[in-house]
Amino acid sequence: MAILHTVNKSPFERDALKACVRMASKGSSVLMIEDGVYGATKGTTASNMVTDAMKDVNFYVLSADLKARGVDESRLIEGIKVVNYSDFVNLTVENDKVQSWL
């Protein structure tokens, strides 16, 4: 049972990403959207948490939300995949269900 987890809050303001990482089981996927994309950047107080989780979980980040916030792809944690809206749709289809961490 693969789950797509979406996170739309900044990890520095809410604990949505933290809760998500705690609950995401092996083989599931996490897609960072809206203010959640800040969690995909390296060198932050949240980076290690994401890097650790990446051993078991696939991480994705939505391109349009990165651009809006001026986050250059060079600042992303290595291994996080940048996706567009149609990839987002495919991810929801490929997984059995979607869990939104708000």
């Binding site: 739309n8 303001e13 203010d35 349009a64 809006a68």
Partner: protein, 135 residues
């Protein structure tokens, strides 16, 4: 205007997830139009408001980051960014918009508006303000 007060606008939210950043910017510009002494502080996720390179075209919403460049025209040239907030987010002042103003008392020389300060310095600035508005 009988009296000029020192206003400090404290910005703590990322720009697009909520409306706070834009609301703050509008109130700042309005207060400056009434010739109040307005200063801005960017702490926590608020530092993301003045990040360089924002492009909202794919979201279909207004990119208001260019408006921060107009602050100098409004004589808002004291912009404080908390050092600890930048560091926690892996950012440096080079990742921020190069906000400047022209100093009337120094032959209109272009000067930086942004000052990176510690939490302690920011606490002192809050003490010195007459009015603090939080966004």
């Amino acid at each position: 205007m009988s009296e000029t007060k020192k206003f400090l606008f404290v910005n703590r939210k990322a720009p697009y997830g909520t409306i706070y950043a834009w609301e703050s910017l509008e109130v700042v510009l309005i207060s400056a139009a009434f010739e109040q002494d307005a200063r801005m502080a960017f702490i926590d996720d608020g530092v993301y408001q003045i990040a360089k390179g924002q492009d909202t075209s794919e979201l279909g919403i207004k990119n208001f980051s260019p408006t921060y460049n107009a602050l100098g025209d409004y004589d808002i040239n004291k912009i404080y960014v908390e050092k600890e907030s930048l560091e926690a987010r892996g950012l440096t002042v080079d990742d921020l918009l190069p906000l400047t103003y022209e100093d009337e008392d120094d032959d209109w020389a272009e000067k930086d508006s942004i000052k990176v300060v510690s939490s302690a310095e920011l606490a002192e600035l809050m003490d010195q303000s007459d009015v603090i508005l939080s966004f």
